[in-house]
Every structure is written in C-alpha cells, then in structure tokens.
C-alpha cells in the first residue's frame, strides 16, 4: 500500500468544507469589524484630540503588529488565562478586531468627508443632532467610502487564510493537509488560488468601477 494516495473525488467534500469555513469566518469578521469600525470611526470623527489619540494609539498597535503574531498571542493568552477558545471563536475575535482597526479609519474618513455646511443646513431645517447623523452624515459619508470599504473587505478575505495557524480548518489549511497526504502541491494550490481569485477579482473590479464613477 502506498503512503501517498492521489487526489480523489472524495476530497471534494473536504475542500468544500474548507471553502465554506473561509467564507464563514471572513463574513463574520467583515460584519463585526464593520459595525465596530463604524461606531469607532464616528466617535473618532466627533471626539476631540485627546480621545482620538488614545483610541488611535490602540488601533495603531493592531495595525502595526503582524496578524499572525496577534492570533498566536491571543490564543495563548486566553489559554493561559483559563479560557481556552475554539479556533473559530479566537480567530473571529482577532480577525474582527483587526478589521475594525482598518474599517474605523475608512469610516472616519467618510464622516469627515461630509461638509459642515451640509450638517448646518440640515440643522437649520429643524433636524436634531441624531437626525443629521442618521439621515445626512451616515448615508453620504458611507457612500463616499464604499470603494475603500470593498478594498478592506477584500484584504480581510485574503488575511483570513492566516487563521489557519491557530488550527481553524479554512481553505488553505485543508489544502495543506491534502498536500501532505497526496504530495501533489501544484494541482491543489492552483485550485485554491483560482478560488480566491474568483471571489476577489470581480469585487476588486467593482470597487475600481465605483471609484471611477465617483471621481467624475
């Protein structure tokens, strides 16, 4: 009996599970990261210098330490603290916070892109502060940063591959296991690459088109 068996149709299910897991954790991270980023971005656009510096410093750490180190550090820390987490939960938390760090900058730029005069005009129409936030600043600000939002979301999908280090069975890790069993790295890796490309390329084209449309 040979130790290495070739790829078979039975492996499709395994790979498919990996694909689903990649999509799952990316969507979770993008949704949670965007919501948190929106709140923090709004807060940063509103608050004064001091509060800004404090939050900015923390977010800066998230952006200046490699994701892979954050993942290992967080998992080990939780293990040591007595709350060992499932790889999916730990991965989603770290990836969401990482996404938040980038999203908050995107949204802050969005909120700041809305002219003061527009807000003043809305207030003079009798809108309350929260009404200007709800009906003026959020819709206009968010629309302006949609292309950047797509860019960050795409990078999260790609960065989700790193969650494999803490043992989450996403696409790249399943393919790695298949490679060590079948010893056919090229075929498997090319398949994986095509999958990422198929997800990422149309979105990036859409983002570029939006950007061009908005520039006009």
């Amino acid at each position: 009996m040979s130790l290495f068996t070739p790829l078979s149709w039975g492996d499709t299910g395994f790979i498919f599970q990996g694909i689903l897991n990649t999509i799952y954790i990316s969507v979770v991270a993008i949704v949670i990261g965007s919501i948190l980023g929106l709140i923090i971005g709004f807060f940063r656009a509103e608050s004064g210098k001091f509060g800004n510096m404090l939050i900015g410093g923390v977010l800066d750490i998230l952006r200046s330490v490699p994701l892979i180190i954050q993942l290992v550090l967080f998992t080990t820390f939780m293990g040591v603290a007595g709350f060992p987490l499932d790889p999916f939960v730990a991965g989603s938390i770290v990836l969401s916070l990482y996404t938040m760090a980038f999203m908050s900058e995107v949204f802050r730029a969005g909120f700041e892109s809305v002219h003061d005069s527009m807000v003043t005009a809305a207030r003079s129409l009798g809108m309350t502060y929260w009404q200007t936030v709800r009906y003026i600043r959020t819709p206009i600000g968010l629309r302006a940063v949609l292309p950047s939002w797509i860019g960050v979301a795409l990078s999260v999908i790609k960065d989700s591959a790193l969650v494999s280090v803490i043992g989450y069975m996403e696409l790249l890790r399943t393919s790695e296991q298949l490679i060590s069993r079948t010893q056919q790295p090229l075929e498997i890796l090319i398949g994986v690459g095509i999958f990422y490309f198929i997800i990422s390329y149309p979105l990036s084209l859409y983002g570029k088109r939006l950007e061009r449309k908005m520039a006009l």
């Binding site: 330490v65 550090l73 989700s160 490679i179 790295p185 090319i190 690459g193 990422y196």
Partner: protein, 221 residues
C-alpha cells in the same frame, strides 16, 4: 490567572531575537527594492500598446492583488517543488514578497505616471532628452514625490507579511520566536516580545521614511 511570567528566558534569547529582526528587515528591504524595479516595468507594461507586454503585466498584477500572501508563499515553497525547483524558506518568502510588492506597487506607479501631464514628456523630448533621460530626470522624480506615501505603506506591509515565514520555517523574527518558544515553552513571553519588536520596527521605518521624504521632497508635497 495563575501564570508566572519568566522574562529572563526572553532576555537571554535577546541576541537571537535581534538576529531574527535583522532577517525580517533584510528580506523586506530587499523584496521592496526588487519589487520597485519590477513594478516600474509592470506599470509601463500595463500602459503600453504592446499587447503581449500589457497582458503579461495585467495577469501578474491581478494575481498578486487578488490572492492571499500566504498562498503565494506556499506556491513558492511547495508549488515550485513540482517543477523541481526547491527554494530555501528565505528565498521562498523573498520571491513571494517580490511578486506581491511588484503587483501592488505597479498599480501605485501607474497612478503616479498618469498623474504627470503628457506635455512634460513632449517638453523634455523637445529639449533633446532620450527616453531614459526623460524618465530619469523628469518623470520619476516627480512620480516618487507623489507616491512615496503609498510606497511607505507597502514597505510596512512587507515587514508585517514577512512574518508568514513562520509557516515555512524561515528564521525571521516570527520564525525565530516560534523556534525559541518551542525550546522553553514560554510562548506568551516570546510572542509579546516579538509583537513589541514588530511595533518598534514599524514605527522606526515610518519615522525614517518621513525624515527621508522631508529631505528629498522639500517644498510642496
């Protein structure tokens, strides 16, 4: 939480960590340098009339931008093995980073090239400059002034992404940290130290880049 931190293990391993940090800087600087050179050609290729050249550049740029960095590294490390090319971990990470840097920077450069008015090309040609001189003395200096900020970002990104070397057994900072913690099992301490070193390196690079851009691009930016 009943965990006792043992920092002396980390302090004793300090020289190895610094060696790792040096390798990290080394691979990112080198990959950035080679990446910039290739990116200039890719950017010119994407804008060129030559179908083959522009198709080649497009494929390179889109693959680099739309697949994960980890995938590129696996491709260089495991994938090329199928062709009988066996790269060392350092070289695999280097090749992958060059590939990605070139792809991302090409788009940046293209934006930079296009932001320079066409009249400047004809003006410098009418002064009797050859194509090399046009780019060397007129176009590139202006372009670098416009794109030094995205370039710095890309450089920081390379530093952070070189940490993926941990997965192919490279001896850069993350990989070295992994090796050291496996000797002593002080995982938390070592990874905290690595995080701090990465943070310091990133800040240092940003600081230097700022300083250099202030010196090089005096006046308006």
């Amino acid at each position: 939480m009943d965990y006792e931190f043992h920092w002396n293990v980390v302090i004793n391993a300090w020289p190895q960590l610094l060696d790792g940090a040096f390798v990290t800087l080394h691979v990112s600087v080198l990959s950035m340098f080679v990446g910039i050179i290739i990116a200039i050609f890719l950017a010119l290729g994407k804008m060129s009339q030559n179908k083959v050249f522009s198709y080649f550049s497009n494929v390179w740029i889109e693959i680099a931008r739309n697949t994960p960095a980890l995938f590129q590294i696996y491709m260089a490390y495991f994938g090329l093995g199928a062709f009988g090319i066996h790269l060392s971990p350092y070289f695999a990470v280097f090749v992958a980073l060059v590939f990605i840097n070139a792809g991302y920077l090409a788009e940046t450069f293209r934006g930079g090239f296009q932001s320079i008015p066409k009249t400047q090309y004809s003006a410098s040609k009418s002064l009797g400059m050859n194509p090399y001189q046009v780019y060397r003395y007129v176009i590139l200096p202006q372009m670098f002034r416009k794109i030094h900020y995205p370039m710095t970002n890309q450089f920081v990104w390379s530093i952070l992404m070189s940490s993926l070397g941990i997965l192919v057994g490279m001896n850069e900072l993350a990989g070295e940290t992994q090796r050291l913690q496996s000797l002593s099992f002080r995982t938390l301490e070592f990874f905290i130290a690595a995080a701090v070193i990465y943070y310091v390196i990133t800040k240092f690079v940003l600081f230097v880049a700022n300083l250099v851009s202030k010196k090089l691009f005096k006046g308006d930016i």
